[in-house]
């Protein structure tokens, strides 16, 4: 080849052929730097280690399969092929797959994001919204048809069936999940009737739950005007979403339990209120009765009862007098009758006198036998029409 003069294009073409043939499938490990997610959906970044660096691209469509958002400093293992770009005389790895170099990388990414968001104040307790006491309408952002949703619905049904549930479906795993979660939260916020949102997902590995560790999800939770309760994975799983949320429940069902009062408890407290109302009325009635009794026992009322006593004495007196009067009246009648009786009797005597008989009276007594007549004393002769006093020795007309 010595001596032969090539054009730049010719040489580049040879290099391109050579490199692309020999490195059609490479697998390499390195640390991401200058990561850029272009609006077109393509990713551009540099992979480096202590001795070298290489440019990388990952086209839209390919990066859909990456479940996490790459960050600078993250150690990843990528698969792809080497390509040469003649206009720039550059070579790069066209990345087809990307994985964290180890589980530790995700941990690290998690810690870094956590640290960053913490500094930005996304976890501050003063930014936490308080949860409604008895929400009647709960929004749920989770996978439609997932076990988590089913569990939450059955909890609501059992505990507080008066609640209304509005599900905003989203992917909860894999590439693009974060985006759908953000959208679901936005959609729920656009409605004006949702009182609280549950962001939930059943249990899974760190990779499975990774969408909830994404920055955009964290910001969407932070921006939500409606309070958000997270119920992600199992009790031991903590995600970034949990830190930003207004309340973190250990599981999806726990989240629903927190937001729904137990029917039995409500029934109990209604019964309690019922009792309080009844007792309240009874107390009120008792109080009134006591007051009436105390008024009756007060001096004013007692003294007036003395008045009553006096009055009744007067009444008694009147009654006595009436009874007496009656007695007197009877006596009077009795006397009158006796009088009439004597008159009747007298009448009898008059009849006899009219026939010409004469009665003899001496010293106010009738002389009914001759031997009782005293010759030396005056006497009266009682005729029918008159009476004649007869003095002893001489006669005198009256």
């Amino acid at each position: 080849m010595t001596g032969a003069v090539l054009t730049v294009t010719e040489l580049t073409k040879l290099i391109k052929q050579n490199l692309e043939e020999n490195f059609s499938s490479v697998s390499l490990i390195g640390e991401i730097s200058n990561f850029k997610a272009h609006t077109s959906g393509h990713w551009y970044f540099t992979l480096k280690d202590s001795g070298a660096q290489i440019s990388c691209t990952m086209w839209r469509g390919m990066n859909d399969y990456v479940f996490f958002s790459p960050q600078d400093g993250m150690k990843v293992r990528i698969g792809g092929k080497l390509t040469v770009y003649p206009p720039r005389g550059s070579y790069q790895v066209e990345v087809r797959s990307m994985q964290p170099a180890g589980i530790g990388e995700l941990q690290l990414a998690f810690e870094k994001l956590k640290e960053k968001l913490f500094r930005e104040g996304l976890f501050d307790s003063e930014n936490k919204k308080s949860l409604p006491e008895m929400p009647m309408k709960i929004g749920i952002a989770t996978a439609s048809g997932g076990a988590a949703l089913k569990d939450m619905i059955s909890v609501a049904q059992r505990r507080f069936p008066l609640v209304e549930i509005c599900v905003a479906p989203c992917s909860v795993q894999g590439a693009g999940a974060a985006e759908t979660i953000v959208k679901a939260l936005q959609n729920l916020n656009e409605r004006n009737d949702i009182e609280v949102i549950i962001l939930a997902r059943g249990g899974g590995s760190l990779e499975d739950l990774w969408a909830f560790n994404e920055e955009e999800v964290a910001y969407a939770i932070f921006r939500s005007e409606i309070p958000i309760v997270t119920g992600i994975g199992h009790e031991v799983d903590f995600t970034i979403a949990d830190f930003v949320a207004d309340y973190r429940a250990a599981t999806p069902t726990a989240a629903m339990e927190i937001l729904t009062l137990d029917k039995e408890d409500i029934i109990y407290s209604i019964t309690e209120l019922d009792t309080r109302v009844t007792e309240g009325l009874n107390e009120s009635l008792n109080e009134k009765r006591d007051r009436i009794l105390s008024i009756l026992n007060s001096y004013a009322f007692r003294s007036s009862s003395d008045v009553v006593k006096l009055f009744s004495q007067r009444v008694d007196g009147v009654v006595y007098r009436i009874q007496n009067g009656m007695h007197n009246l009877l006596e009077e009648r009795k006397n009158k009758i006796a009088l009439h009786m004597t008159r009747l009797l007298a009448n009898d005597v008059q009849k006899t006198l009219r026939k010409g008989f004469v009665l003899v009276k001496q010293e106010d007594k009738f002389v009914t036998r001759a031997k009782k007549f005293q010759m030396n004393k005056n006497h009266q002769l009682i005729f029918y029409d008159n009476q004649i006093d007869v003095h002893s020795g001489h006669e005198e007309k009256k």
Partner: protein, 73 residues
């Protein structure tokens, strides 16, 4: 929080019931007032209990265009 446009009657009934219980507990009421409150309270508690007994969970799904779709449980 956003304003709810259909405040549940259950919740307001329950709140009113609590209010009535408090009033009957503490305040010095006329007999007439007390009886009126008592009657209202008893009616409300009955109503709330009935609502709870009859309640059936309502689940809807939000589509991307914000339209609501009824879901069976």
């Amino acid at each position: 929080m956003k304003k709810k446009n259909n405040e549940s009657t259950f919740k307001s009934d329950l709140n009113r019931l609590e209010q009535i219980a408090d009033q009957l507990d503490t305040s010095d009421l006329d007999l007439e007032e007390a009886i009126t409150l008592y009657e209202e309270g008893i009616t409300l508690s009955k109503k709330c209990l009935q609502a709870l007994e009859k309640a059936e969970l309502k689940v809807t799904e939000l589509k991307s265009n914000l339209e609501l779709v009824n879901q069976k449980k």
